[in-house]
């Protein structure tokens, strides 16, 4: 376990300064993407920010191996994704969906329409949760347009063709279920 003496990192001065500079650059570059990744799972800004912080704590623990990582962006995304999935298991599935749906529907013309829109959005989120896990995950990650199919495949440990097939299947199944229930 990497230890931290006081408030400084246990590295030599130059290595410590370099590590801190690299960490700050990583946070500046990737924090917002990781936030969107975590939020897609948790639908809560506070929880998502916690996940992002946990992800960078992991980076701090593995800072000696940062040079071995080829694709930092995908590595960080994978960490944030796994942390978000773990955290999702500990909370009620729809704990934060109501507020997310209300925020999304808030731009509707009238309060009546906003109410109906929020109900429809909540139903979509419920049906998304009911999808098979792989399809659900790919649907969430594909919503974040910053990630390419190759990156999604790396994060989820699948091939690109599998990602494309699962995404198509997820959309089709979601639409069928919603139409059957009458959105």
């Amino acid at each position: 376990m990497t230890s931290i003496e006081g408030l400084s990192l246990p590295l030599s001065f130059t290595e410590g300064a370099k590590a801190e500079i690299d960490l700050a650059a990583l946070v500046e570059t990737h924090a917002r993407l990781l936030f969107r990744v975590a939020h897609s799972v948790l639908r809560s800004s506070a929880e998502a920010e916690d996940v992002v912080q946990d992800a960078f704590v992991r980076v701090l623990e593995h800072r000696n191996r940062l040079n071995d990582i080829r694709d930092m962006r995908v590595w960080l995304t994978r960490i944030a994704w796994n942390l978000a999935i773990d955290r999702r298991r500990r909370i009620r599935p729809d704990q934060f969906d109501e507020r997310f749906a209300d925020d999304l529907a808030a731009n509707s013309a009238t309060p009546h329409e906003a109410l109906h829109e929020a109900q429809r959005i909540r139903r979509v989120l419920r049906e998304m949760e009911r999808l098979p896990r792989a399809e659900h995950h790919i649907l969430l990650l594909s919503a974040i347009e910053d990630l390419s199919t190759a990156e999604i495949a790396t994060v989820l440990g699948k091939t690109e063709s599998a990602v494309r097939a699962l995404l198509f299947r997820a959309r089709t199944r979601l639409r069928e279920r919603l139409e059957k229930g009458g959105a």
Binding site: G6, S40, S45, A48, F56, L178
Partner: protein, 240 residues
């Protein structure tokens, strides 16, 4: 039919709206600054409850830390009687005529005074000491910092160091000798000398014999060339 189309369009629109909402969510302002600040304070946990209500959890945590330190100090002090007398006000025996309620009140007030004194000491101690770890993973990570002495962990071996260790373990004398700089620098000179020794240029007598042999070979060659051409076979002569 129209209703079905409307429902299908409505469904697709709602799905797209949800996915767009997930895509377009903006991170809160200052997230990078907060994350970097929290990473620089490893013992500070950053929970969502703390963000929503900052003051009360911090007060609770500070009170918990102060209580723990106070109990520890009280425990240590209670094992040292002379020191105990210096800190705590002496509780004299109550007169037998005093009511039990008064005795209880005095005891309670004395204990409260002790607790207040301990809390004051503990608060001061807590301020001076490192902050208490809050979450279990953070506590585990920072437990080493609270140890008496903490040398930095050794850095992993570089590739050159690993090669050196391999040579040492193998014990090959030639490889070991090659570690010596002087030996290594003189190696090309030794190789050149070996090469010269092996491919030594021929000496003078050897060169004179070689010249004679060459002349002999050259003399033999014209005899061969002077021999008449063999007569053609009778069968080769065309008959008319």
């Amino acid at each position: 039919m129209n209703n079905a189309n409307y429902n299908a369009n409505d469904t697709a629109d709602t799905v797209d709206r949800v996915l767009a909402g997930l895509r377009d969510i903006e991170a809160p302002a200052g997230i990078e600054r907060r994350i970097l600040a929290s990473l620089q304070q490893p013992a500070t946990a950053y929970t969502s409850s703390a963000r929503s209500s900052i003051t009360s959890p911090l007060l609770w945590l500070a009170a918990t830390a102060a209580t723990i330190v106070a109990v520890t100090i009280w425990w240590n002090a209670s094992r040292r009687p002379t020191h105990d007398l210096a800190i705590h006000p002496p509780i004299t025996a109550m007169p037998s005529a005093a009511a039990p309620q008064q005795a209880a009140d005095v005891t309670v007030s004395a204990s409260r005074a002790r607790k207040a004194q301990h809390t004051a000491v503990a608060t001061q101690t807590a301020k001076n000491s490192q902050p208490e770890p809050i979450t279990r993973p953070v506590a585990a990570a920072t437990s080493d910092t609270l140890a008496a002495s903490h040398p930095a962990p050794p850095l992993p071996l570089t590739e050159q160091e690993q090669l050196l260790l391999r040579i040492l373990h193998k014990g090959d004398p030639i490889e070991l000798a090659s570690l010596n700089n002087d030996f290594r620098d003189r190696q090309p000179i030794r190789d050149a000398e070996d090469f010269q020794r092996f491919f030594k240029p021929p000496t003078a007598p050897h060169s004179a014999e070689a010249t004679v042999d060459d002349q002999t070979a050259q003399q033999n060659q014209p005899d061969i060339e002077a021999q008449p051409a063999p007569e053609p076979e009778p069968n080769d002569i065309p008959q008319q």
